[in-house]
Symmetry: C2
Subunit: 83 residues, 2 copies
């Protein structure tokens, strides 16, 4: 079965996000007044071929832990969608 994983890898809340701060500052300079607290991370989509949704979930969980997210600085969450 074919699945698609939609993964968000974001800087942990406790950490500064200089890229987000720069974008927030840019938006304010461009007169976006109600905008604050911008945080920027990665969005990753992966096609996964697996026998079940559980197997796909395990694969993606392992991929996040071992390669996609740096646990010292980043958290991740994902959704598995059947295609």
């Amino acid at each position: 079965m074919n699945f698609r994983a939609e993964i968000d890898v974001m800087p942990l809340k406790e950490l500064l996000d200089p890229q987000g701060k720069a974008v927030a500052h840019g938006l304010q300079k461009m007169n976006f007044d109600g905008v604050a607290d911008v945080r920027i991370g990665k969005h990753i989509t992966i096609k996964v071929n697996a026998n079940s949704k559980e197997e796909a979930t395990t694969q993606v969980e392992n991929a996040c832990k071992k390669l996609l997210a740096n646990p010292i600085m980043e958290g991740y969450k994902f959704e598995i969608v059947q295609e």
Copy 2:
């Protein structure tokens, strides 16, 4: 009212995504066999203060067009969530 925008900015389908290719290659080397077609973009969260969901949507749409996404190389989609 306070809203949170969850924005995904992804490289257009027509374009190569070298970062995604590198990650796909890395995953295959690590014996993630069923994994293919990795694409990597940005995930951006923004807090928006606006009078209505429509106003928040307009602000975020403009922010995407003017600053967050490069229309030549990237597409974007977003969700507005009330907080």
